[in-house]
Amino acid sequence: MQRIILHLDMNSYFASVEQQANPFFRNKPLGVCAYLSPNGCIIASSLEAKKVGIKTGCRVKEAKKLYPRVILIENDPDKYRTVTKKFFKIMGGYSGSFEPYSIDEAFLDLTGWVKSFDQAWLLAAEIHQRISSDIGSWLRCSIGISFTKFLAKFGSDIADAGATLVIPSKDILDDLYLNHQLTDLWGINLRLEKRLNNLGIWSILDLKNASVQLLLQAFGKYGYWLHAHVNGVEVDHLRSSAELWSKSIGHSYCLPKQTTDKKYLLAILYKLTAKVGERLRERNQTAMGVYIHWSCISRLCYGKSFKLKKPVASTDDIFTKAHQVLHQAILKDKVKMLVVGVFNLSEPSKQLGLFGSLANMELAEALDKINHRYHSQMIYRGRMWKTESLAKDRIGFRKVGL
């Protein structure tokens, strides 16, 4: 049976959602920012902003220099999550196999649900129309349809905004690759491009025609995947929700006040740890590893990760480990970013009660229940006092948990 995969990518997502909500922002350069401070980063720019050179990753102060009348607004995660749920729901109605790849991208396996690529194209047209009519007429998406997951994504990446591109067979790959660079391919960044260049591979066609042995030697298993992907051989599958769970859970925060004050830093560290702990317990998992990392204004970074003898799940147990590292560190330089997280995740052992910190766990679960019912910070440790406005809810493109 002909395999048919559809990939949908929302165009300039966060900016388009803001322009959908507020029509006075339409047809104007708009940047959605992580923070509005001069060093805040633009996490999504509208098509109009991109035209004047304001791209994702640009700083607020740089954007204002490039185009002084640019509209800059702080991100609103609830808006984007709601719209994502809506377009996921539309897509999920067309196939039993659906992979939410990120907040603005998803795959559908249409194999068995449509008979041909022509039918898939008609279905894509219906999805475009339903996103416009059911969610918002300003929202656009690009859709790629092909016989492998990789080529479906390549199709949506190179399709125009609001368009559908079908890659029905291997015969057209050479023509298609001709006008694109290595970095247009899913998973190839500038660093990998350089490594490929060192092997004499300068274009996608070079990569397609490169020997498997050469790629295997240079990149191991990933080399074979590269070869298979560009040659239209399927080596991937749509992932289930369980497979999509990340192997670690972490939170980071760029500090509004760069400092060596450990009291301030530990308060924020606790708040970040509380978020990590809450997500870990929501997934009903425990962790056997904790990591902490911070970077300073001198660009020096410090970090430590360690495996634990006993599984942890309570905020206090995770914090104790991270706290030790930061507490003992001699901070010569002002800290500008803090990161904390857990890894080696697994289902809780039945023996956790015997060997784990049961009191901490019970307390954490009781606090979770109260906070879930009333407010995310209804009850919190005194250590987090006056941190309400710090490390607020943020959204990342790779976060699929809605």
Binding site: D78, T82, G136, M378
Partner: protein
């Protein structure tokens, strides 16, 4: 940019095909006619779901928030074009 208002308002709504749509609202003794609802999104406070309506009249953008537990509306945000 956006002005944060967070003041209670009175709203006239219509119920249509499982949707609730604001038509008019009064704020600071003035009545505003909603020309169009552009986006509806939700947020949560604890286990309470709040409904946010992004609406416009001729010259302003408003975000109206409905709390179905307390049956109250607030004007959360205002943006004036120009």
């Amino acid at each position: 940019m956006y002005d944060q208002i967070n003041e209670p308002i009175e709203v006239v709504v219509s119920f249509k095909e499982n949707n609730i749509l604001p038509k008019y609202f009064s704020w600071r003794r003035k009545i505003y006619k909603v020309n169009q609802v552009h986006l509806v999104h939700t947020s949560k406070i604890g286990n309470q779901i709040l409904y946010h309506f992004s609406v416009t009249d001729e010259t302003n953008y408003f975000q109206l928030v409905f709390n179905p537990f307390t049956l109250t509306w607030i004007l959360k945000t205002l943006y004036s074009n120009g």
